[in-house]
Subunit: 517 residues, 2 copies
């Protein structure tokens, strides 16, 4: 071992891709997680907090026979006598641990098992602007039932959750699709057996929002020139095959014009309910999957979900069928769902855009099977709380800056006990309050501190005040407003500093705080 | 690379030393953290959530020039082009990250900076019974002030916190000591310069609870035979030196007889306040540190803390000076404090014992200096929430088992929408409720499920009920009670199943839930 040398000072930085969260960033997230947990709990879901660390083997997807099984995850090898310990890793989501927990505890858990989980997950990926390697997930899953009622329930719960955290009806839409319908459409296109072509088609469908109907048609057939002039190879389908796919996708376009569509429906006397659009969608899908058994099964599942939701009063202004929802190429086997915020925001370049997806999920049937050999049907959703918080801040629905504590200043350092007694009184009355604990010599620094803390009120008791049994109470919010804009007249009329008897301290502070709301 | 072989099924287990938390274990902890955060917030502390992952360099204590810097922590090396990436590690406490955060953001943070943090930390240690490698910490620290008012404030906050989470006054005691007093006593013993002897004495003091006065006296001087017959070497002090140390320690014994002591004080007419014991302690300490400058400074600091607390109404029944508090040999430089629960519990072997410490902390002045070169005084406390939860469960102050949701059973699987509509009504009325989503064929399984969920109520609507516009509501709690102990008479008189019109579902469920409280 090298002999110890003088260490340079360590750098005070987070590792690349990690960050710290301060004050309100933390408390607003905590508050949101609490509100979401309340809804999940009311739906009968039970909390689960699995360990952050799992064996690489249990997490799956990462082969233990490669040298460093840490592709995508943060992993390390346990140290044992022979330096051959197990590989462990930080969880990369909350679903893989759920599968492990259910397999491990299935004899003690109820079946079906409804559980929710919230907490950080870690990804060993290249960080980018706004993309961190640690972030929060907030999941709810039902394990052990194939019933579409489980999927419908989660969609309803998602809708309730969004409204509970402050996204009003009309500002969001839960969209539901079914992988089986997609597969049925692919079968009808003659691609039932061709896995590569199917993946290519799914990937192309995912680009519909970007390149539009004509673009998708080109990409499905002979290829197209993209905006940069590069030629993108096509999937090589025939025009007839592509046509089925386009008709499938234009169900979405129809939805985009839902209002006009519904007016048409109503005019035609077809249906009076606002959910007519769901019937129109399933009708269209039934036609497109032709006689694909899996496709028809998917359409029936969507019909069941639509009926269950309608009966509970969740109409298509909240939850709607939408065939363009794909949700990646992952492990989903049936219904897939997604919640998007439908209002527009301005992006960093000042362009208007839709806020987009804040949550997604679906049905997956083989995660538990890895452990037990038995297929266990499951369905679940994940909410992106950080994106939701960003949306609420964007819309001004949660405060961008927190109000700080009342600051009791220190005029006489030998009377610290007097000042501490004041904050004790204030706190006992439920008021957030603190004594200035820095060097009290320079009073200006104390007011600068109160400013940095965003304090609403400063309390001052010097020797004269003490002798006369009074305190000075400074309304810092009003003071700032007056300083900004008031005329001399107003300044005189609306004093922002009050002299009250010491015994009235709490009452006066309360009065000012109330006036600031 | 080896060619892929068929993988055996992964084992569904957590890594050694890790565990999962279910249902109420999670929600009760969340609730406690929320209650604690409320108190911290009222005291002006701001939330901070630093990343779980830090550079090994920033965490400190672990040298980057050894091959595997993961002694005590979970650490791994970032993969870069040359396989020479930085070493990263999971945080092992919340104080080291605070030092890094303060050094990194000091220009943006207020000074003094009061912050609280709560979350898991990880230790790469041998797990044992009840000892896990991931556990929660819940800290509050004030950085950037040397004022004893900061220490007193944290002790007061600790007292408030314990009462807020459900430990009543009298069931806990916050005990305060000062490292400078210890150092002063060691100086008075003539050990001011001898670091090894000092450490040995401190370690011996820590054993006072176990071996008593006579044992400590032997250990400080010539050594002693322990219970197993092995000879433990002594520190080698003279009898005179040991005597100073014993007198220091017996200040604690005096405290143990506090009631008698206070009666003596009052009889002697010395003082009428319940805090006379604090004055007696500092008097004794002042005598023991003789003319050690650092010792006298420590005594003065204790006097300041005691006065500040007394003025805020925190008497010695809540917070008291106690010279036997050592708090390990770590980085503390001034006041140290500890909260212990004073009631007795029965341990796993059925023996009575004190519950003991649930929180500790103190002043440390050189953690930030590692990064910036400047000394930044700081003081803070850490609460062991899991031990606190265990104490509350032990005393029956929080429920050992949670009440489950109302379960709406499925008598007719084609009418799932009806049942979902029922739970939607119940949830909208704020009642936790769910539909049975397993295979409904066997009704007995549905009731077994409700039992496993600890459900208070089951709702039943078969074909007949539907036709007659009624529902059956089964009080499962009362039902269980009756089944356990009722006579036939009582059984008849107190039916546990009710038939009500469908429209009265919510009202009747409410009524039964209220009767169960």
């Amino acid at each position: 071992m090298a002999k110890p040398k003088k260490q340079p000072r360590p750098k005070a930085i987070t590792p690349k891709g990690f960050r710290d969260y301060f004050g309100q960033e933390v408390t607003q997230r905590t508050e949101m997680l609490r509100a979401i947990a309340d809804v999940y709990h009311r739906y009968g879901f039970d909390a689960l907090e699995s360990s952050a660390v799992e064996t690489v083997e249990a997490l799956g997807k990462f082969l233990p026979d490669v040298d460093r099984p840490n592709e995508g995850v943060f992993a390390w090898q346990e140290v044992d006598e022979n330096d051959k310990g197990d590989w462990m890793a930080l969880r990369y989501d909350l679903t893989a641990p759920l599968a492990r927990v259910y397999a491990q505890h299935r004899n003690d858990l109820p079946t079906p098992y409804r559980r929710y989980a919230m907490g950080p997950v870690w990804r060993n990926e290249k960080p980018g602007p706004g993309r961190y390697r640690q972030f929060y997930q907030c999941d709810a899953d039902t394990v052990g039932t194939a019933s579409m009622a489980a999927d419908a329930e989660i969609c309803a719960m998602l809708s309730d959750t969004l409204e509970t955290v402050g996204i009003p009806r009309g500002d969001y839409l839960v969209r539901v699709n079914n992988r089986k319908v997609l597969n049925g459409v692919l079968e009808a296109m003659g691609l039932g057996e061709d896995a590569t072509a199917r993946d290519n088609v799914l990937r192309t469908i995912d680009k519909f929002d970007k390149v539009g109907e004509a673009g998708v048609r080109e990409l499905l057939t002979k290829g197209r020139l993209d905006a940069s002039g590069a030629f993108i190879d096509g999937v090589g389908l025939s025009e007839d095959q592509a046509e089925i796919c386009i008709q499938f996708l234009t169900t979405k376009a129809m939805l985009a014009n839902a209002v006009e569509f519904q007016q048409d429906v109503i005019k035609a006397g077809k249906a009076g309910t606002p959910n007519a659009i769901n019937s129109a969608v399933t009708e269209n899908l039934r036609r497109l999957v032709q006689n694909s058994a899996v496709g028809l099964e998917g359409v029936q599942e969507l019909e069941q979900i639509a009926e269950l939701l309608e009966r509970q009063g969740y109409n298509t202004d909240r939850i709607t069928l939408d065939p363009s929802v794909v949700r990646g190429l992952g492990y989903y086997t049936g219904p897939v769902y997604e919640a998007e915020l439908t209002f527009e925001i301005f992006d960093e370049k000042g362009r208007k855009r839709q806020f987009g997806s804040v949550s997604g999920g679906g049905r997956y049937d083989d995660l538990v099977k890895r452990f037990t050999g038995q297929e266990v049907p499951a369905t679940g959703v994940s909410i992106g709380v950080d994106r939701l918080l960003a949306a609420l801040r964007e819309k001004g629905r949660i405060a961008a800056q927190a109000t700080g504590p009342v600051v009791v200043t220190v005029m006489d350092r030998d009377r610290m006990a007097d000042y501490q007694a004041m904050v004790a009184e204030l706190r006992n009355a439920g008021v957030r309050a603190e004594v200035y604990l820095g060097n009290p010599k320079n009073f200006g620094n104390q007011l600068k501190y109160a400013d940095k803390r965003n304090s609403p009120i400063a309390v001052i008791e010097g020797g004269d005040e003490k002798a006369n049994g009074i305190v000075q109470i400074k309304d810092l919010i009003l003071g700032a407003k007056i300083a900004e804009s008031a005329t001399l007249e107003e300044w005189k009329e609306r004093p922002s500093q009050f002299e009250v008897p010491r015994g009235d301290l709490v009452a006066k502070v309360r009065e000012i705080l109330d006036s600031q709301d």
